[in-house]
Amino acid sequence: MSKLVISSIGPASSVQDGGRPGSQRYGLTPGGAVDRLALAAANVLVGNAPFAAAVEIGPLGACLTAHQGAVRVALAGAPRNVDIAKRPVAFDSSMVLADGESLTLGFARGGSFSYLAIEGGIQGEPMFGSLSVNARAGLGSPYPRPLQNGDELQTVAASGAADRRIELPAVTDAPIRIVPGPQDDEFGDDAKALFLDSEWRISATSDRMGYRLEGPVIKHLYDHNIVSDGTVNGSIQVPGNGVPIVLMPDRGTSGGYPKIATVISADFGRFAQIPAGRGFRFKAVSIAEAQKELRNFVKLIDALPSRLRDVENFDLNLEALQDANVAGSAINAIDAKTWHVPD
């Protein structure tokens, strides 16, 4: 067995996986990684199942050291400056930490959360099928709380597999798409228009329960209290002060404020990564369009292994070219540095 010892880590960093849906009727929130695509990309890079447990690292930095053997890890999500023993290393890639070597991560740039996946996963005791940390419910493994300095993550020794990088679709800053409802009828046309036509920013006081939005005040037609009903990831509730809150994976399972709209599943991770203070907009789409985008998103996750590339000699990567040709895609070897397999 090898392990990663955390010598320093910022707040809002915790072990997260695909979460634990299935007990929301008992008030247990599903939790899980806020950016599923980044979680899956990091895991696929080290040969894990896409939604295996990884370290979700908050906006500040971290430093982890391999002990009792080499550990193979991968990073995806919000990019940062990263080095192993002062050697700079790349994001969206796997890498090996030799016994005693440290991985040092700087602040997140252009996002909030990065994912550190560990080959062989993180050893822990699943509760409701998940290692995800939910401190309020006393759930999460190996620690039922956010990670702290000195914590240890047990894992397996590096297999010796070649390091890989992954080519992900470029991140867009297109509007975050929403489906109106379920309580959009609690708002007048002018309030709904203001919601869709305004530039918004995510408040620095946001957390895994909810992201507070900064922008205009959204007024209710009637009372700001409704009888509590169920919530989902991406529910946009508007409390009495008119400041919308987007509910995140550690949300309460029910809430008593009207929900003007819901962030679509395919855009949820991209929304979660918008850095505090950066402007963005919402755009309303139909349920049908949101579901089509979700199908595409699921396809993208399923196809992540086909986006893996060798790290060395990728200027002319014969093996990958061959794979791609077998898959039926025409590849021009001259452009081998930039090609990717079409979806």
């Binding site: 929301q24 489906v179 409802g181 509590s228």
Partner: protein, 243 residues
């Protein structure tokens, strides 16, 4: 009977959930229809439905849109919602022991003053109630009970408390509740129970189901302390008195 039920409103909660809304208000008849639809879905599952969350007035149905679309699901849910509501008498009934007042229920005196009666009268009225788990939500095991006597209806506190103890029994608005974990609350604290409605490494982890009936029984502080220790080691403490 079935023909007289008005159809629920089907409200999209994003691309993977639909809110089946029977009423906009806290309404016992609506809650019974919510629980009936929840039970109907458990008996006759719809392919693609992944999870249901009953609340006072609506059932949130999570689904996988790769397996079923919004329109097809809405149609099936509407048909199920027309089925007659089964009688409440068939539900499980739990007796939950509570130590009222003093350090365990710091608002009991104030509630009595506000309602112009004695703490004993508040306790007698609260214990006399026959309640039903209308929903569980907010935090694990937080059970919202319907059936609170009108006399005990009270607005919530102006300033919610940031921390109230695990096992708190309280009243707020037209509801009473069993709070499992320590946490914030704007309700009025009447007492505490040693019963854990949510406890890891116990079978069952969640004690109460939406639709269960609940009655309360008074105990003294010494009994509470004993029960609290027993509950810590996994005993249910709550007593199943029916069916």
């Amino acid at each position: 009977m079935a023909a007289s039920l008005s159809p629920p409103r089907l409200l999209p909660s994003g691309d993977s959930a639909v809110t089946v809304e029977f009423s906009r208000n806290i309404d016992d008849a609506a809650n019974q229809r919510v629980l009936a639809l929840d039970q109907a879905l458990a008996r006759e599952p719809i392919d693609g439905v992944t999870e249901t969350v009953p609340t006072y007035r609506s059932l949130l149905v999570h689904y996988n849109p790769l397996e079923i679309g919004f329109d097809a699901l809405s149609e099936q849910l509407t048909a199920l919602a027309e089925q007659p509501v089964p009688p409440v008498a068939n539900a499980r009934c739990w007796r939950i022991p509570v130590v009222y007042g003093g350090e365990h229920g710091i608002d009991l005196e104030d509630v009595a003053k506000t309602l112009d009666t004695t703490p004993d009268d508040i306790v007698a009225r609260h214990v006399a109630g026959d309640y039903r788990v209308a929903m569980i939500g907010f935090t694990p095991g937080w059970s919202y009970l319907s059936g609170l006597e009108k006399f005990l209806h009270m607005p919530r506190r102006q300033n919610p408390r940031l921390l109230t103890p695990a096992g708190t029994i309280s009243v707020g608005g037209v509801q009473t509740g069993v709070q499992c974990l320590a946490g914030p609350s704007g309700w009025h604290l009447l007492g505490r129970t040693a019963v854990r409605t949510y406890q890891l490494h116990r079978d069952p982890i969640f004690l109460l189901e939406p639709g269960d009936r609940v009655t309360f029984a008074t105990i003294d502080g010494k009994t509470f302390a004993e029960q609290d220790r027993a509950a810590e080691s996994g005993e249910l403490i709550a007593e199943l008195i029916a069916p």
